[in-house]
């Protein structure tokens, strides 16, 4: 074992445990206020305070705040929470801290689903389109993510054990396959669809609107509601499928729910913001280091920290090269890739093989 990751259970003091959740809430609130009050349009902290206390804003400031910055902030929160929670769910399911929706191909599968819906969605019967409405793309993305996760589980897990190499390599193969299919679809797309696709593929929160948010939010909310029902089961699963079953868990049902939840969260996030990598791996890892792997605390905190992290990353992406924007995926990758390597190198060698 390469001892790059010190045993940090010593960090897990009662004080930290008590203040971690309130601290994360405070971080999210501060990041949100900062995000709302920064940008090119000049709406600063002063005006924001005025808006909060009910004093009037100029008409232009009002548009900036309510039609541009607020939906973008809300989208950042929703997507960050979804990505971090789906990462924690996949890691619990595969019993491995390296499982990340972006890395193991679930994000690519969700992307294929989204592109399918954008390019070929028009061919669906009008009745179906009427029912799904703007939810079609997120639903298709969730479906794509779900199929990928199921395939991945079939391939990488045998007898309740997941081999990391198989997991990562199968993830690469599935991502390549989904990427190729996505490429073919892009060729088939007409001009208007191409515009949608380019916009979507940027992996950014720049196109955030209330409409897009409303399309993705139900799926994300569903997953957040599922968390309490999955937490204890995922804890016992860390000891293997047989032990989880002996401790009263309906393992098959739990796996179905976890796979569906992770896919729904990833799908919804990918559908509205393109592929934003590494949030799903960094956030749960930091939280596990700080206060242990218990999913009853980890999952809700992952939602908070994921949201805060993405809001801050978005802020960075808007300010580093202002007035231009960096794709937010670059920021998260810069942060996340080193953490991924850190985890990989600190895995016990048996689990790495």
């Amino acid at each position: 074992m390469v001892a790059l990751s010190p045993d940090l259970t010593g960090l897990r003091t009662p004080a930290l445990r008590r203040f971690l959740t309130p601290g994360l809430v405070a971080l999210l609130v501060l990041a949100s206020l900062w995000s709302l009050s920064s940008g090119a349009a000049g709406l600063g902290p002063g005006q924001l305070l005025a808006a909060l206390t009910g004093d009037g804003l100029s008409a232009r400031d009002e548009v900036v705040l309510y039609q541009i910055r607020l939906p973008r902030l809300a989208m950042g929160i929703a997507v960050g929470a979804a990505l971090a929670v789906s990462g924690a769910l996949l890691q619990g399911l595969f019993r491995n801290p390296l499982a990340d929706p972006g890395i193991v191909g679930v994000g690519a599968g969700a992307g294929l689903g989204a592109v399918l819906a954008i390019v070929l969605g028009g061919l669906l019967p009008a009745g179906v389109l009427a029912v799904t409405g703007s939810h079609l793309v997120p639903l298709a993305a969730a479906f794509g993510g779900w199929v990928t996760t199921l395939l991945l589980y079939r391939i990488a897990t045998a007898g309740g054990q997941t081999r990391v190499t198989t997991l990562l390599l199968a993830g690469i193969a599935l991502a390549a396959l989904a990427g190729a299919a996505t490429g073919v679809l892009v060729y088939l797309a007409d001009d208007r669809q191409l515009r949608d696709l380019t916009f979507w593929g940027m992996g950014s929160l720049a196109g955030a609107t209330w409409g897009k948010l409303a399309a993705a939010l139900p799926l994300i909310a569903l997953v957040l509601l599922m968390m309490p029902f999955l937490a204890r089961a995922l804890n016992t699963l860390a000891l293997g499928e047989a032990q989880a079953a002996h401790m009263g868990i309906d393992v098959q049902r739990m796996k179905r729910r976890a796979i569906l939840s992770a896919a729904a969260a990833t799908g919804a996030a990918v559908a509205v913001s393109g592929g934003i990598g590494f949030v799903g791996i960094v956030v749960p890892h930091l939280l596990r280091q700080a206060d242990g792997p218990d999913h009853r605390r980890l999952l809700p905190r992952a939602a908070l920290l994921g949201a805060a992290l993405l809001v801050l990353a978005d802020l960075l992406s808007r300010s580093i090269v202002a007035p231009a924007e960096l794709p937010i995926g670059i920021i998260t990758a810069l942060l996340g890739a080193p953490v991924f390597l850190w985890i990989l190198l600190s895995q016990p060698s048996a689990a790495r093989g």
Partner: protein, 259 residues
């Protein structure tokens, strides 16, 4: 009452168990003994529904292989031959998982008491991943214990299924854990344990089911089962049986015959 009827297991095209039948009453400690590869772990795992098998297994009248996980969790706890935790839970958190799986109103301090039962209270806050092999096995034993803490519950006796609970323990802790199993059975619970150590088995078990080649070669009280002929057939070497001062026979493999 544990009732195993004609349990057959085929794995990878090989017949591993050829129709095993066994009954265990609450209050008994029954040891499953036999050479490596005889099918002891497979017998335990098949009875618990972990391995595809033919035959019928009931525990207190409930189907042990296909019953509802939640109902069975209140009836029996399982210690596998080895358990790897995927994440660095603390020892106390691991034991609490067992407690959460049981159905009795959690007693305050039960996790601590379960840890004290296996002599591990000083490591409650250590990561399970950093424990030594023997410490890890005792931590998971404490988890099993916390799951079926009271030996008798509303649905009758509770049960411990243990695969080599003392194999990686030092002599002192072997004795400690054997006494614990004995007390659990004496209080009305049932204990089924896979054992290699014939001395400890003879000291603490009520009965031995001796498995050779996937069949029960002998089953009964230790002094009836552990005869030199059977042991030589099982282990391929002569085993001298001495009589220790107070505690029954005493088994020593004879080096000359083993070579």
């Amino acid at each position: 009452m544990l009732q195993i009827d004609d349990l057959k297991v085929t794995l990878g095209g090989r017949d591993i168990l050829h129709g095993i039948s066994l009954q265990v009453r609450p209050g008994e400690v029954v040891a499953i003994c036999g050479p490596n590869g005889a099918g002891k772990s497979t017998l335990l795992r098949a009875a618990l529904g972990e391995v595809p098998a033919q035959g019928r297994v009931t525990l207190n009248g409930q189907d042990l292989r296909q019953g509802k996980p939640q109902a069975l969790a209140r009836l029996r706890a399982v210690l596998p031959q080895d358990t790897q935790a995927a994440f660095p839970f603390t020892v106390a958190e691991i034991v609490a998982m067992g407690q959460d799986a049981g159905d009795f109103a959690p007693e305050p301090g039960l996790v601590r008491r379960a840890l004290a039962e296996v002599g591990l209270d000083h490591l409650a806050d250590a990561s399970i991943q950093t424990l030594s092999g023997g410490e890890r096995q005792r931590a998971h034993l404490a988890r099993a214990l916390a799951q079926v803490w009271q030996p008798v519950g509303p649905q009758g006796a509770r049960w411990l299924f243990l695969d080599e609970p003392v194999a990686s323990l030092d002599l002192g802790h072997q004795l400690f854990v054997m006494r614990l199993m004995r007390r659990y059975a004496d209080a009305g619970g049932g204990v089924v344990a896979v054992m290699h150590d014939l001395n400890l088995t003879a000291m603490f078990a009520d009965r031995i089911a001796f498995v050779i080649g996937g069949r029960i070669a002998a089953c009964g009280p230790p002094d009836a089962v552990l005869d030199p002929g059977l042991l030589e057939r099982a282990y391929g070497c002569r085993i001298a049986m001495n009589t220790a001062p107070a505690s029954g026979p005493w088994f020593v493999p004879q080096a000359a015959q083993a070579g």
